[in-house]
Point group: none
Chain length 216, copies 4
Amino acid sequence: MGRRKKEPKSVHRAAISSAAATLFSEKGVEHTSMDEIAKQAGYSKATLYVYFKNKEEIVSILVLESMKKLHTYLTDALQSQSDMYDKYIALCNAMLKYEEEFPFYFHMVLDEINIDFENTDYIPEDKETFLIGEKINTVIKDFLIAGINAGEFRKDLKILPTIFSFWGMITGLIELGSNKETYINQTLHCSKQDFLNYGFDTLYRSISVKGVPYEN
Amino acid sequence: MGRRKKEPKSVHRAAISSAAATLFSEKGVEHTSMDEIAKQAGYSKATLYVYFKNKEEIVSILVLESMKKLHTYLTDALQSQSDMYDKYIALCNAMLKYEEEFPFYFHMVLDEINIDFENTDYIPEDKETFLIGEKINTVIKDFLIAGINAGEFRKDLKILPTIFSFWGMITGLIELGSNKETYINQTLHCSKQDFLNYGFDTLYRSISVKGVPYEN
Amino acid sequence: MGRRKKEPKSVHRAAISSAAATLFSEKGVEHTSMDEIAKQAGYSKATLYVYFKNKEEIVSILVLESMKKLHTYLTDALQSQSDMYDKYIALCNAMLKYEEEFPFYFHMVLDEINIDFENTDYIPEDKETFLIGEKINTVIKDFLIAGINAGEFRKDLKILPTIFSFWGMITGLIELGSNKETYINQTLHCSKQDFLNYGFDTLYRSISVKGVPYEN
Amino acid sequence: MGRRKKEPKSVHRAAISSAAATLFSEKGVEHTSMDEIAKQAGYSKATLYVYFKNKEEIVSILVLESMKKLHTYLTDALQSQSDMYDKYIALCNAMLKYEEEFPFYFHMVLDEINIDFENTDYIPEDKETFLIGEKINTVIKDFLIAGINAGEFRKDLKILPTIFSFWGMITGLIELGSNKETYINQTLHCSKQDFLNYGFDTLYRSISVKGVPYEN
DNA sequence: TATGAATGAGCATTCATTCAT
DNA sequence: GATGAATGAATGCTCATTCAT
């Protein structure tokens, strides 16, 4: 095992967390051992503990990274379109893109966000993750308000409950689309993307004043 | 140990799976050991293997049972109401009831159902579970068609995609409601049930011809 | 590894703790691994955990056992003699016998006895160990009082401080005798037993009214 | 790191062993890692191995240093008093002072000294430690002989055995006093120092011709 | 000389599963 | 049929030590 060149710590952390990400996606966090991560990353198991405090920290940093990316995807999606409906669809597809890139964290993100801030022992990454979560909420909130003001979305929408319920619904939709891709292909005779587009459209009607703009 | 002789095999399976169900709900499948199930059920650990091939089979039978119950809940919900909107709300609450009773299987049901029917090694219960899933689909399908025929639901709904997307969305909504109950209470200043009602209503608009009937 | 006959649990516990005792004496508790204990006892490592909750419990039971034996040795020693000096010497030799049989616990016993009875998590054996410790104190106390009343020991002795200081001194003497046996042999040109006898005698003068009865 | 160049090797050894001493006292040798020593000393872990062969050597040098200090304490104690009894008490308190300063080595000194001088692999410090031990023996020997010649100590004392047995007994007494300080406070209703004074006095009678001079 | 980097060997503990009786 | 007994295989984590630079 040739010793590596002097590379910054972040390079090793990236290599390790990347290896972990692959394995976590394949078999889940619980079923991925530090031994396996080490082997996948090409390090000795002990070396993992040079770069990370423990397994939990690897998970936390991965969740944080993915959340940051999600935030970027969502922001970019909204900026890429001007029409409200197009923004909505771009938003949904940004989440889809995220789910496809980080299948594992997609669901975890939901659970992890409830941090016990009383517990002084929590991993700093977790707090940052929570903060990014709040930023994401804000992004969607602004989008909703803009839509209402533009006369596109129903005036009687309750902002916060709408954000949360949409988050849950889109998340559930995408997760089902991915978990059951083959089943959908066989039974619905359409692609996962088609299925999701249909779902996104359907859901749009629940906030829209006038329904979906084009025929899908 | 004074255990009655000649109890039919099913009695023992029921006792064991019931003990397992309790523990799984409390601590999750992964964190429940066969040792604990045996103790809870009042059997020796080895005896568990007389009645079940392995731990996985216990899980499978439990998932099947829960699916059967879900089917009942859904059927009952539809029969308990005559109005379409009321049926819809009853349907949603039936799923909520299921989630609250079987929090653990709720999500699993999504993942586990993709059976490789080519694989001759699969657990028979899993096939039955799949079949119940199909029955559930039919129940919802009939509901949707009835709603369309009654002029309550949009005529342009595509039946199958609608069933699936609704399944995903309601599932996602309920799961978020449960995972983040405290967060919702604190941020939205409302109960989980209130939040979910709002979400159910919102979603109803996406299939309804005229929106929700009453003010909520 | 042929499966053993159905033997009572206590037999296995004895076999394991006995193997552990040997290794603990040879290399110390910290440097004895459960793996080694298992090998020495002829069991699989996992089997150890069938009979003991953890390593700590093995240590605790060993300490307790040795303490019980010490109590017996001391009681027997006192009963075996009628003369006070002879009782004293028998007492010292009982401790020596104990040290030779349980070299490892001899010192540990001193440390372990301070139990935090507030801590509800302590191992039950530790409490019993403490109780035996108290019984041992009583045995020595009665001996001291009897000696004073018989006019053999100084009337101005403070019972409790005398017990404790004698315990410390005899313990220290014996431990030194054992740790440095070869050195003693070479430098003092006498056996460990001779050396200890001299020490016991010397110490006797500090409580005796008239000094040691015979010439040593 | 701005470390001054050309510091003699001994300076680094002192800095490292001093850091180690602090940590060893706080948490014990076994529970102090080389990592912690390095951090405490402000060196890189690898640097420790430039100045010391291994962890054991750090311990050895520390034991040696402490022994040197003990020798000084004992010599000073004897010179500080003229009366024999006072010298004896000063001697005991010198050992107590040593125990309180080097709790960790106090007991170790007993065990470690048995060097296998045939073994060419031993650490040189250990030999020096042994030599200091011999010097300490001589100090006490001279004290004993002086006491005998002064008519204070019994004429029939065998010098060497008395030295050794006193060493063991005082050592044992002090160790018990320290290990069980709280227990002594609670049960004997006196301070550790009071208890030890009583013990020292008691022991004095075993060598003294006439008993302890004052009432304590 | 000083150290950043890496790791082999080890450890206590857990658990699903097997099998002789 | 029921089980007491036993265990192989893991798992997360630690640490003294080595070595190329």
